[in-house]
């Protein structure tokens, strides 16, 4: 499922790992209307994001529909080269996606 994956980059520098990730998601607010039918497009957005280092979560985020389509996220954590970073999300329909990478 390449579509629901999280693209990840993790770079370690001076004891800090800089993580950049891109999630592929439509992030519908539920407020937008379909131009043709005039019906509201149902909300569909990421609600929770969990980031872990070597299996231990260091950050969890609650997203609102305010976040842009295909969310981009940059976070940092204390760590060294080789630490395994993983980022996963769950949306309001219960779907989820994740990505994993060792810090360079």
């Amino acid at each position: 499922m390449a579509k629901s994956a999280v693209k990840l980059r993790a770079k370690a520098k001076k004891g800090i790992i800089d993580i950049k990730c891109l999630m592929s998601h439509p992030m519908e607010t539920g407020l937008r209307k379909d131009k043709k039918t005039g019906e509201k497009i149902p909300a569909h957005f990421i609600q929770t994001v969990v980031a872990t280092k070597n299996g231990t979560p260091f950050m969890n985020a609650d997203f609102n529909s305010t976040i842009s389509k295909n969310p981009y996220l940059r976070i940092q954590v204390a760590g060294e080269k080789g630490d395994e970073i993983s980022v996963s999300w769950t949306d309001n329909k219960g779907a989820s996606g994740s990505g994993k990478k060792a810090a360079k």
Binding site: F58, M59, A61, N64, T66, I75, N92
Partner: protein, 147 residues
């Protein structure tokens, strides 16, 4: 093997649909941790005091309101940062996201927001001793010439 997977998928799918139909298992039950009331509120009650120790970076003029990059840096804040929230005051749902920091996390986040119109963007940082914020104004000129 494929057939088995397919069967599993259909079964799981129908279970969820049934639960939704019954109205018992609303989406919030699936994601119990998601603070629904807070997320859907029209205003954010507690943004705390303005503080110079929080740094927020966002463009002065956003030509495309659908993608407004915002960075909040709270590394200068005293004490342990519990969470960072990004709030776009002019939005229908102002609270954009809350990042809960745990051990090891550096209080620094960067993301992209959708903004309906021009307004202030707050970076709200919660520590054990209180809440501090920083704000910056973002002008949204959808479809404009960037003026």
């Amino acid at each position: 093997m494929k057939r088995r997977l397919f069967m599993k998928g259909t079964l799981a799918g129908s279970a969820i649909t049934a639960a939704l139909g019954a109205g018992l298992l609303a989406p919030r039950a699936v994601l119990a941790a998601w603070p629904e009331a807070e997320m859907l509120a029209a205003d954010v009650a507690d943004t705390g005091m303005a503080s110079g120790s929080v740094k927020i970076k966002a463009p002065e003029i956003a030509e495309n309101g659908a993608v407004v990059p915002v960075t909040v840096d709270a590394t200068g804040v005293d004490g342990i940062v519990e969470s960072i929230s990004i709030v776009a005051a002019a939005n229908q749902r102002p609270l954009g996201a809350t990042y809960h920091m745990k051990e090891g996390a550096i209080p620094f986040v960067s993301t992209r927001l959708k903004m309906g119109k021009t307004g202030d963007v707050f970076g709200v940082v919660k520590t054990a001793s209180g809440t501090v914020n920083a704000k910056t104004q973002v002008k949204v000129t959808i479809g404009g010439c960037g003026g």
